[in-house]
Subunit: 211 residues, 2 copies
Amino acid sequence: MNIRVAIFEDNNLLRESLFQLINGTDGFSAIGAFHDCRDILFNIKRVEPDVVLMDIQMPGITGIEGAKIIHDNFPEIKIIMQTVVEDEERIFASICNGASGYLLKNTSPVRLLEAIKDVYEGGAPMTPSIAQKVLLKFRHQSPQINTDDNLTHREKEILECLVQGMSYKMVASSLAISIDTVRHHVRNIYEKLHVNSKSEAVVKALKGKIV
Amino acid sequence: MNIRVAIFEDNNLLRESLFQLINGTDGFSAIGAFHDCRDILFNIKRVEPDVVLMDIQMPGITGIEGAKIIHDNFPEIKIIMQTVVEDEERIFASICNGASGYLLKNTSPVRLLEAIKDVYEGGAPMTPSIAQKVLLKFRHQSPQINTDDNLTHREKEILECLVQGMSYKMVASSLAISIDTVRHHVRNIYEKLHVNSKSEAVVKALKGKIV
DNA sequence: TATGCACCTGCATATTTATGCGGTTAAAAG
DNA sequence: CTTTTAACCGCATAAATATGCAGGTGCATA
C-alpha cells in the first residue's frame, strides 16, 4: 500500500521534481501537486492524501495557515513543513498549527522520503537544526520541577483549587472542610512559598510547582 | 579533525560494539567507554570528548543525572541520550538536563554516526517518535497567542502588574494613577476576560494572553 | 459637531482575603 | 511514651477586593 502524498509548493521546478521523486519511488504515490492553497479543502478532499508536503511561504494563504486548515478539518492527515529559512516564529507557529514534521529544503531526497514514511508512522521527523530550536524553546519554557517547597498533600490540593480560580468558600465546600481550615492551610502555603497574596501564590504555582 | 566521542553504557557488548563502530569510521574517534557514571567528571576532564553518548538507565548515577553533571560543568559538550523505552518523563527530564539528542537503541549505525555529526554541528537529532512526544508536549504547553480579548494598552499594563503579584495600591503608585482608577480598569479586564477575581484573571493571563 | 473610545477620578458597600491568636485529634517519628 | 506533624476547627480584625453608581478629559473618526 503506497503512502499518498500531496504537495503544496509555489516553485514550479521544485514542485515538479518532488512529484517525480515521490512517484518514482516504491511505496510512495504523489497524488496531487498544487502551487498555492486556493481551494485547499476541496483539493484535499478530492485527492485524500496521507501526508502533505507544505511549503511554508506561498503567495496568498501561507503554508502555516494552510497547515492549520488541513489539521483542523482532517486531523489524521500528517503535515511536513518545508522551508528555506529557519525562522523561529514560523517554526513554532507551524508546530502549534498541527505540523508534525519540519524540514529544510536542502534535505536530501532519501531523507525526505524517510521523513514522509516517519510522519506516516506517527513520528515527527525534523531537521536537527530545527529540532535544536524546539529543544531550546522547550527547555526555556519548562523551568518547572518544584524547587523543594515541601508542601503537604493537603496544601497542594488547596493550591490547585486556588489556581482554578476558586474562592476560600468554594475550596471549603469542594474539599468538605470549613472555611477556617482553608484559611489555615493557605497561611501555611504562603509561608512556604514566601508570598502573601492569593494571586502571588497562584503565579508561583503556575510557573514553578504543581502546575 | 575527528569528532571525539565518549560512551557511557553499562551493557558490555553494546559498549564494545559502539566503540568499534565509532573508531572504525572515518572522522570519528571513540576516546573513552565507561560502564557507569562513577568519577564522571574526572573521566570527562581526562578524555575531553566533543560528544557524549549516554545510556539513560545505568546502575548508580543514572544517565539523566550524568547528563546534568556534564552539562553543568562542560556546557560545550554535546550529549546524546540513548534508550530502549520511550518514557516521557525521562525524555523531558533529559532535555531539561542538557541533552541535545535523543535516540532509540534500535537506531541504525549509519544514523547513529549521522546523529553524532549533527549534534557536533549544533543540531538536535531525535528519533522521530521521540520528536513526536516533544512536539505534542510543546503544542500542549504553548496554547498561547491571545484569543482576541481586545484589552486596551492600559488594561494590559495593569494585568501585567497583577500577574507580578502587585496589589491595587502598588499598581496605582507604579502607574501613577489613583487606586480608584485601578479598580475601574480591573473591572473592565474582568468583563473582557469573563472572570471575577484577581487570581482568575492572573491565571488567564498566564496561560492564554500576554504571558 | 457629535459619537465613541481610551483614559482618568470619585464614593459606597458587601464580600473576600490576610493574619493575629487560640485550640483538638490521629498517626508517625523520636 | 513523648514529640512532631498533618489535618482539622474556631474567632477577630484590618486590609484588600469586587461591584454598584456617577462623573470628567482629550482625541479620532464618522
